[in-house]
């Protein structure tokens, strides 16, 4: 799990252009949206694409996004459960 979280940190910094951040600065349990990293709706779409492109996971119901993308840890847990 920790290895996956580390990988996700690097991927998120790259796809979301968080150029000012180092992976170590991202708290895996902090909220990704609103407070925490302060991501926006375009970032949410980018995370959906990341899941599909890098992990082959398609989110069928957009309502699930709120729970899946709550934090890096919830993302990693979802990937672990759903990756084929």
């Amino acid at each position: 799990m920790e290895e996956l979280i580390q990988k996700l940190k690097e991927e998120i910094i790259e796809v979301l252009n968080l150029e000012e951040m180092e992976p170590g600065e991202i708290d895996p349990d902090a909220p990704l949206f609103g407070e925490g990293l302060g991501l926006d709706s375009i970032d949410a779409l980018e995370l959906i694409v990341l899941l599909e492109k890098n992990y082959g996971i398609k989110i069928e119901d957009p309502k699930d996004g709120r729970k899946i993308f709550f934090s890096l840890r919830t993302m990693a847990e979802y990937i672990t459960e759903h990756q084929k």
Binding site: V15, N17, L18, I42, E46, V49, E52
Partner: protein, 221 residues
Amino acid sequence: MALIIRKYCAIRDARISVDGKAVFSYEGQDGFKKFIRAAYKHYQTDYPKFFKMDNLSKLGFFSVEVLLKGEDILKLHPAEKTGIILTNASSSLEIDEKHFESIKDRGHYFPSPSNFVYTLPNIMAGEAAIRHKIKGENTVLISEHFDPELVFCLVELAFKSKLLSSCICGWVEQYENNYESLLFLVEKDKNNSAEDIIFEPSNLTNIYKLEQKDGRINTKA
């Protein structure tokens, strides 16, 4: 009604000048991204969204940032009467190509939403308008090279039509590591001072040529 150029700025070759005077230069020879990032930090700009913009928007946004530094334009002019009128040659071609790469293979079809957001050059002017709360005319036109007549006609028309009382206008061109901008802050002449630079095509041409001579702007025409 005479219009004057109250201020102008140019960016090219890792250098920034304001009213013909160099104000920042970056020694690194490692391309646009490193330069604009260094300039952003030098100017202590605080706008995290900057890093999410495409390169054209970064250049346009930052050029306006330099031009308006120390200016409180909305104290002098209503937001609705302040406009941004820009021209460039490559439109948003660089990010268009990036977007195309992500969608050309139907079996590997992963368009990036953050790329797609920037597949219009107008977004560049929009980003600057949002930053400075400018709500007037907002336009980007494509022209093969910096065309003083075109810029003059567009801006003069906007003033004559009473759409604007101040305007940021000029040229913002970027494709890969080729980039240059030349922006003017134009207003109605209130003081009729001899020191004012009249906003007219010949003066735009002269400033462009002077910047070329100083090595800050290259010749594209």
